[in-house]
Symmetry: C2
Subunit: 134 residues, 2 copies
Amino acid sequence: MGFDEESCSIGELAREFGITTRTIRFYEDEGLLTPLRAGTRRLFSPRERTRLKLILRGKRLGFQLSEIAEIINLFSQAPGEEGQLHLLLEKIDARRQELLVKRADIDESLGDLRAVEERCHGRLAELANKGNES
Amino acid sequence: MGFDEESCSIGELAREFGITTRTIRFYEDEGLLTPLRAGTRRLFSPRERTRLKLILRGKRLGFQLSEIAEIINLFSQAPGEEGQLHLLLEKIDARRQELLVKRADIDESLGDLRAVEERCHGRLAELANKGNES
DNA sequence: TTCGTTATTGACGTTAACGTTAACGTCAAA
DNA sequence: TTTGACGTTAACGTTAACGTCAATAACGAA
């Protein structure tokens, strides 16, 4: 266990999320994670765990790590002055548009799956019928 | 123009979808597209155009080309006998689960964006207030 | 027939996101 | 005190998905 009850080692974190320690170190190299250190060893706070969760969610949605970095920075940005805030709002809107496109893509895909599924069921009913007739 | 009014060249297709001809040829090499030929030149029918649309949709959702190939094959499969049909239904269900996970990820992300957005607006209101007071 | 455009195949190059191996440190338990 | 589990950095390897030439062919218009 680490110093803190909240924090954990790289190995524990890897197991928890089903990834390798190499991956976690890589994310740190890329600036996506910034764990504390207990001597030479990494210590991951709940905040880092949350960040990792966001990274993996982004990956599932097909974002590149560089994009994920930007997105996470949107979340964990300091308040800032008016100009910055407006810029931030624009970026948020752009990301939202991307996500909406993806969701539309998903809904279309789900529709396509449903269509194939129905054709399958129809075909199965047909076969069952034939089997009963003769 | 091609022989058929419906069909088009690789260049036209590339322009239509905002990708390069290299990409299209690559997809053919990978077996994702199978255009006809007019002599040596490729001819893309509406069916191929639809396939390309599916490929690009899959890419936007972060699927690998190998996965996309499987998915497209689900769509364009021959009827088949009962065993095959049940197997197909299982695959469909698996894909649906994946898509539902992605959609949940998207909805969470949209929620996060909304939260940040609201904090932004709050902060802006604060600033406007301060400006008015003094 | 020549020119410009578009096409072809083939081959090597590139980038992102890690995997893998090497060589070594640390710490608790036996 | 040595063994085993876990950690460290550094460096090279790998795979997917194309990019980027190069050399060549075909086609339509002038």
